[in-house]
């Protein structure tokens, strides 16, 4: 199972999901109204690299991170 991490202020525990690409993760979350608010502003990293392609294959050992808007300093 791939692992999904919700970083920073999202404040949710991580989640194990059985998916083969990011399109399936998008579908998995589509009924979660509270999370949809975050998904509109979150970037996505797979194994700590930001990605922009929903067709990206996901393997069972992969880590997917959701990153809300940032502000350091």
């Amino acid at each position: 199972m791939a692992k999904v991490e919700f970083l920073g202020p999202i404040g949710r525990p991580s989640l194990d999901v059985d998916i083969s690409n990011l399109n399936e993760l998008k579908d998995y979350f589509k009924e979660d109204k509270e999370l949809q608010e975050w998904l509109g502003i979150c970037a996505v990293a797979v194994n700590d690299t930001l990605v922009c392609d929903l067709n990206m294959p996901i393997a069972s050992e992969d880590k997917i991170s959701l990153l809300p808007p940032v502000c350091g300093g």
Binding site: L7, G8, P9, L22, L25, K26, F29, K30, Q36, L39, G40, I41, C42, A43, V44, A45, D48, T49, L50, V51, C52, L54, S65, L66, L67, P68, P69, V70, C71, G72, G73
Partner: protein, 148 residues
Amino acid sequence: MLELHEGSLHVKEILATWYDKICDKNYGAFIPFVGIVRDEDGIEGLSFDIYEPILQSWFDAWQEKAKAQNAILLMAHARGDVPNHTSSYISAVVSPKRKVALKLINDFVEDFKANAPIWKYDLIDGKRVYAKDRSHLLQGHGLLKADA
């Protein structure tokens, strides 16, 4: 070099340590930037979450850019709560030449604000309130949002 500290940064100690490390290496310029939390809008301070793996790779990419100009980047950031009038962030450029260092510190801090995976909260009545309005969207945001 990237350092993460719990709570406010000990500015004098950090800057002295960095200076001692570089002063005999024949660099002509050491340009630090120190960020200090301001008392504004009734906050007691700021608080920070950091995602270290991506912060480290972001910093390493900048270090390579600096190296190409014979410069070195140094950075320290606080994790957790940082009261008003204390420091949450220090960065510095060390370089043989002043002009390179001045440009690099500006470009580095601008990109830090836009892309470093750090989340800021205002401390109000002892609670952390996400500073959403002051935060910056990362590249590719919205990828997983359901189609309207």
